[in-house]
């Protein structure tokens, strides 16, 4: 029972991060029908930017909470500018091209960002300074660190804010209208280009936050971290029903929990044949099973909350 709860908490933490990244995939897909494979690399850039900023600011002797805030801000600004630029340079010129063209471009952008990060930050793993409180608490026999609690709470608040933005503001209405029908939205005076750019900017801001969370959770970061994380988050978005905001959140959290439980029990389940290093296989296996029975994802039919 202790192990079960422990893995659930670990999974919820991981899942919160997946959910934030999955939102970026699903928002862009909802509005453009494009899978932005470069999104995982934006997360990586966010993590490394925050690290660089944090190290520089700590060297100046600033207080830790201020360093955390400024590092997060720096990461968010860099990622938002990056998201804006990627859309403007790589995707907008291909808006009316066959769907395969922007997909290939996305993979290209992803490689460019990875190589760029390698040139700037090198190939090595960087350890992340401890900016969040390092305590931990026992909840029903499971050890939950304060870092994990902060990650879960921040992710939950961010997702709540995003939901409010999409459902309650004029920007959100414009986003939903554009995602349903760009030409009719334009006829109503919605500037589709601006809405699409803002969608990328918002998604990239979430990616920056997720990047900081990942590095805070694991304590290390490197230029290659975006690939698998991006793939997992994309999986989460598909699991929940791509294009659906609530789906991305549910899919992300679910995938995190499944993965953590898989890691915890896969050894027992398979009589020791597979170890916890097969947790990724477990996650993708679940995805395949879900897609066989619900090809449009868990919440794929409830398209009313698309954004």
């Amino acid at each position: 029972m202790d192990i079960f709860l422990q893995q659930v908490f670990n999974g919820l933490t991981l899942g919160s991060i997946y959910a934030l990244v999955a939102l970026g995939y699903t928002m862009v897909y909802g509005i453009l029908g494009l899978i932005n494979f470069a999104h995982g690399e934006v997360v990586m850039i966010g993590a490394l930017t925050a690290l660089a900023a944090a190290n520089a600011l700590l060297a100046l002797g600033l207080p830790v909470p201020l360093v955390l805030l400024l590092a997060l801000l720096a990461a968010a600004l860099v990622c938002m500018a990056l998201g804006f630029t990627i859309e403007r340079v790589a995707y907008r010129p291909l808006r009316n091209a066959p769907r395969l063209a922007p997909l290939i471009t996305a993979i290209g952008v992803s490689i460019v960002l990875q190589q760029l990060a390698m040139l700037i930050w090198g190939r090595r793993y960087h350890s992340v300074p401890q900016l969040l409180p390092s305590g931990s608490h026992t909840i029903f026999g499971a050890q939950v660190t304060e870092v994990q609690m902060i990650i879960m709470a921040t992710a939950a608040l961010t997702m709540l804010a995003l939901t409010q933005l999409v459902n309650r503001t004029r920007l959100g209405r414009a986003m939903r209208a554009t995602s349903e029908s760009p030409s009719i939205a334009a006829l109503m005076g919605v500037d589709a280009n601006r809405i699409i750019a803002l969608t990328f900017v918002i998604g990239s801001g979430l990616a920056a936050l997720a990047g900081v969370m990942v590095s805070a959770n694991y304590g290390i970061t490197h230029y290659h971290m975006g690939f698998l994380l991006g793939l997992k988050a994309f999986t989460a978005a598909v699991l929940g029903g791509i294009g659906n905001l609530a789906g991305a959140m549910v899919g992300g959290v679910l995938l995190g929990v499944i993965e953590a439980l898989g890691a915890g029990y896969i050894g027992d389940l398979t009589g020791g044949v597979f170890g916890s290093n097969y947790q990724d296989v477990f996650a993708f296996f679940v995805l395949i099973v879900v897609l066989i029975f619900r090809p449009s994802g868990l919440m794929g039919e409830k398209v009313s909350e698309r954004a």
């Binding site: 503001t169 920007l171 209405r173 029908s181 006829l187 500037d191 803002l198 398209v303």
Partner: protein, 252 residues
């Protein structure tokens, strides 16, 4: 009577098909102007050119004394032309109220970014948008449907909602593409009352319609298109007696 819209020698072809051939027509401020013709005569194409959805091949459109910026649908909307569609094109997964609120976008003064920050002016504008949208739902007679998703509305209500959304952009010319299609007699007569009310409130109406009885009973003047050409333009009684119109469209 002043001229609101003057289209001169509008041409449009799709590949080798000449969909519109030098179509010229003049719509006066305050009138209900009908555009009829057999299927494929070019009525909807004319609408699409007029609202900037299709680029035209030739001709000019003057609206309210100035050239109409046909480059973008957005600019046409801002200039004061709104339309509905033959095949209803609502935002199906948004509520009726939200559909109309999107229609207010063209007239909003605070940018979408500012609207997120929710400072006082933005909040006031958002409240005004909501109020106006509610009024418009009431105006077209579906005030009690505001919270429902557009795709869950009855067909006739969807048509009304599309009119409310178009009116939300504060048009001076409302272009209705077959608004009575698929409606029963009661609904059609209610629609007639609604269109007359819209005109009485100062909006000029351009109406494409297959229901000849509705057109003849409602319109001040009627133009007839056939194979992309205008073959008649006159008051309904004169159009009805025009031999060319009878041959092409009305039948003996």
């Amino acid at each position: 009577m002043s001229v609101l819209l003057e289209a001169t020698k509008i041409g449009k072809h799709f590949g080798g098909v000449q969909a519109l051939k030098d179509v010229s027509l003049t719509i006066n401020t305050g009138e209900i102007y009908g555009l009829i013709g057999p299927n494929g005569a070019g009525k909807t194409t004319f609408f699409n050119v007029l609202t900037g959805l299709y680029p035209k091949d030739g001709g000019t459109v003057t609206f309210d004394g100035a050239p109409l910026p046909l480059g973008s649908p957005h600019a046409v909307t801002r200039a004061g032309i709104a339309r509905t569609f033959q095949n209803i094109r609502l935002f199906a997964n948004m509520t009726a109220l939200e559909n109309v609120m999107v229609g207010r976008h063209a007239r909003a003064k605070v940018g979408v970014g500012g609207a997120v920050m929710r400072h006082r002016r933005a909040r006031e504008e958002e409240a005004a948008i909501r109020r106006r949208a509610e009024e418009l739902l009431h105006y077209v007679g579906i005030a009690d449907r505001g919270g429902q998703l557009a795709r869950h509305l009855a067909y006739g209500d969807q048509r009304r909602l599309e009119i409310a959304r178009a009116l939300a952009t504060e048009p001076r010319l409302l272009a209705l593409d077959e608004p009575a299609a698929g409606m029963n007699a009661t609904e059609t007569s209610e629609l007639k009352t609604l269109i007359e009310g819209i005109r009485a409130d100062g909006v000029t109406v351009l109406l494409i319609e297959h229901d000849v009885k509705l057109v003849m009973g409602l319109c001040d003047r009627v133009a007839v298109l056939d194979y992309g050409e205008k073959i008649a333009e006159d008051v309904p009684d004169a159009v009805k007696r025009d031999p060319k119109v009878i041959e092409a469209y009305l039948g003996a």
